[in-house]
Structures are given as structure tokens and as C-alpha cells.
Amino acid sequence: MRSSDGSLIEVHLTVNGDAVRRAVPPERTLAELLREDLLLTGCKQGCDQGDCGACTVLVDGRAQLACLTLVVAIDGATIETVEGLQQRGRLHPLQAAFVAHGAAQCGFCTPGMLLSAVALLRASPRASRDEIRAGLAGNLCRCTGYVKIIDAVEAVARGDDEEPAP
């Protein structure tokens, strides 16, 4: 049993492969931890109440909303954010496809879209257009660039964009 009475609670996480140890109050959200403590500002707070998906990150491989997730509740979890997608300076194939297809306008929804797409393609690498639409249904784009976003993910699912853009 873990308990506390007003004091901070120590939590261990793995964030983009790095071990992170922090003492947090019970109300600290994952979005606040990522943005304010770890300066991983790719996690966007759009609505802060679960509606927009801009704060989507992967928690133990599942796309989840950092704005609704309390840090204390995910002690021991592995977190992946958009900052961890590139490998040694090389864009993730989905990132490259977003660039190639013009799938980012203002870019605010892009990190969340990318992480939902990563989770989707890991589970179903050859996802159909309908599966992609369903997989991204929890991510809103206020610039309404959905067609290009879905095109980009579909290109990766079809294997069109094997070579990332330079």
C-alpha cells in the first residue's frame, strides 16, 4: 500500500528511455510533469479536460491523455512522447510522412496525432483508411487538416514512404 498525508509521493517513470524519479503531489497531472518539470513541451494542453487529444502520449504503449492522468496513478510506467520519436536525429517514418504530406498546419495537434498513429500502426501496421480514421478519432485538429493527416498515416501503413524525407 502506498499512502501519503499531505506530503509528496515519490514516483518512478521511464520517459523516452530515461529513468525519471520525482516527488509529486497527488494532483499533479502527467501533462504538467512532462511540460513543467521535464520541459517536454511537445505534449500540448489544448482543453485540459479530455476532449481534444492534443496531450496524447503513450503510457505503457497505449495512447492516453496526459491531462487526465495523475502521475501518482502510473508509478512505474513507461512514457513515450513526441520528443522520443526521432532516432539519432532521424525522423520517425510517421514524422517524415507528416512533413511530406503537409499534414501539419499550425502544428498544435501534431504531437498527439503522431502518438495516436504510432500506437495504431504498432498494433496494426497495415491499418486501412477506416482503421486510421477510427484510431485518430480522439484527436481534434482545429485547423481541420484531417485529410492530409490520414493520407500521411496511410502512406506509412501502405509502405509508400519507406525512405524518410531528408
Binding site: 501519503s4 476532449d51 496524447t56 495512447a63 495523475l70 495516436s116 480522439g138
Partner: protein, 287 residues
């Protein structure tokens, strides 16, 4: 949300003890309801966090074909469970329409039951499938038929020191049809205008069993007792579908609010239930 006390019990026994020791603390599971409501409420004194409490997670077959779903089981696991697909397909269908994938990864059945919103999507299904809620407290475990669980607008039969442990769905007759429909503004991430769930069974051209659960047409999820009475014993076909729709008009007084209007809600529920009756009337489609 701010809270000063926090405990993460490692077992049901510890959770029950924590709840008894801190009757003014709240139970937190996936937090998808609590975090949204937090800014609107006074800060909780403390939190008993049952997310990922192993004894509350998982879906298993119990006594003779019933399915027991731990309260802390997230919707995603309900969607992907072969057991749910086989025994309670309309629960999987409802779960698939709760929020979007991110909410399904974190939102739980116990949380949906706990919030007991009139628009909780799984709740009409629990009514139609005649589910039972298992509750634990220092006084022991008790089972409440789900139909007696919601007592009013977001009020329930849960006592201040009780914990929701599991939801059990009894084995349905193999010939029974399960039907589900959520009507919202868009497919994903939308709160329902109305929901309807039904279990209907036909033998020799007559309905012998009918349970209809409705959401968003009253202050809590309800059974459509009048429509059920119009269906049971009646022959398959249009006349029974019409009688059920007429019974709904007599028994329902939905409200107008930001999501829909009273006339739209009534007309839509009538249409959905009509279709359920017609669908169950056609012998051909065993789904």
C-alpha cells in the same frame, strides 16, 4: 484537482479498510470523470486510488456461463475480450463508442457505474443484460441487481464506505438477441442524445423475453417496463413494434437540454426500439 491524502491499496481488503478509515475520501479509478469534474467541485480531502488494483481488473467466466468484469477493467479490455464478444456483444459495442481510444484506455466500467450519469453508455446495457453489481465494505460483500443501483440523478445504492468490486452479467439464453444503439452528434467523443439496449427472445413466433434499457431519457438509466410488457407474449412483427413505441410515449418524459430536445429524444427512442423489435422478428439473422 487538489487532494491532501492519497492511498493506493494493493488488495480489496486494503481498499475496504482505507475506505472505512477515511469515509470522506473519494475512490479514484481511471479518473476520466473525476478529473473533468474536479474544477467544478470542492477539492477532495483524500483519494483511494484503485486504478490497476489487480484484484479489481480482468474479465472471467464464473458459475455456468456468467461473465464477471472487475470494476477497474478499462473499456479497451472490454472491447477486445473474446468472452465479452461471445456473451455480451452489446457491452463491447457500447464500450467501443465510449469517448475515443484514449478514454477507453483509461475509463473503466466501475467508473461508469460509479458516476451513474443518465448518459453513461454502458448503463442501459447493464439493464438489458440484467447485470449484478458486487459491493464490498467492512460488513462484507453484497450483490445488488443493477436495476436497483441507480436511485436518482447521479445517486446510487452505494454506501459511503462501499467499494464497487465487479459487475456480473448472467448467461443469456442462447436464442436471445442483443441489440444496442447510441445516437450522438458524431461517432467518436460525443455524449449521447439517447442510448437503447435490448435483449429480446422469440419462441414459436412470439416474444418470450424482453428487457430494454434506456439512457438519456430520464434522470437515470431506466428499464422501459411499459414497452417490455407490450412486447412479451406478443407475436413478432410490425404490430408489436408499434405497440412498443406507443408504450414508450406513455411511459417516458424526456427533457430538453443542450444536447437534444424532448420531442427528438422520444421520437428517436421510439424509432430505435421499433427497429429492435423488427430486427428480432426476422428469423434469418443470427448476427
Amino acid at each position: 484537482m487538489t487532494a491532501t491524502g492519497y492511498v493506493r491499496p494493493a488488495s480489496i481488503a486494503e481498499a475496504v479498510a482505507a475506505r472505512a478509515a477515511h469515509p470522506d475520501w473519494i475512490v479514484l479509478c481511471g479518473a476520466t470523470d473525476l478529473m473533468v469534474e474536479a474544477p467544478l467541485r470542492p477539492a477532495p480531502v483524500g483519494v483511494v486510488d484503485v486504478w490497476a488494483l489487480a484484484e479489481l481488473c480482468g474479465i472471467a467466466e464464473v458459475d455456468g456461463g456468467a461473465v464477471r468484469i472487475g470494476a477497474a477493467t478499462p473499456w479497451r479490455d472490454v472491447v477486445t475480450s473474446p468472452l465479452i464478444a461471445a456473451r455480451a456483444p452489446i457491452l463491447a459495442a457500447a464500450a467501443r463508442e465510449i469517448g475515443a481510444l484514449q478514454i477507453q484506455a483509461r475509463g473503466t466500467i466501475g467508473g461508469n457505474v460509479g458516476t451513474s450519469s443518465p448518459v453513461g453508455d454502458s448503463l442501459p446495457v447493464l439493464l438489458a443484460l440484467d447485470a449484478t453489481v458486487e459491493l464490498a465494505s467492512p460488513r462484507g460483500t453484497r450483490r445488488v441487481p443493477y436495476r436497483d443501483y441507480p436511485t436518482g440523478y447521479r445517486t446510487t445504492a452505494l454506501a459511503a464506505d462501499e467499494l464497487i468490486v465487479a459487475i456480473t452479467i448472467p448467461a443469456a439464453h442462447p436464442g436471445a438477441r442483443q441489440l444496442w444503439r447510441k445516437v450522438g452528434t458524431r461517432r467518436a467523443q460525443s455524449i449521447s442524445k439517447i442510448m437503447a439496449a435490448a435483449l429480446l427472445r422469440v419462441e414459436a413466433g412470439r416474444f418470450v423475453e424482453a428487457r430494454i434499457g434506456l439512457g438519456a431519457v430520464a434522470n437515470r438509466p431506466i428499464r422501459a417496463a411499459g414497452a417490455e410488457a407490450a412486447i412479451v407474449g406478443a407475436p413478432v412483427g410490425e404490430a408489436t413494434a408499434d405497440a412498443a413505441a406507443a408504450a414508450l410515449a406513455a411511459e417516458l418524459t424526456p427533457i430538453t437540454d443542450v444536447r437534444s430536445t424532448a420531442p427528438y429524444r422520444l421520437a428517436t427512442v421510439q424509432q430505435v426500439v421499433r427497429r429492435f423489435v423488427l430486427e428480432a422478428s426476422s428469423p434469418s439473422s443470427p448476427d
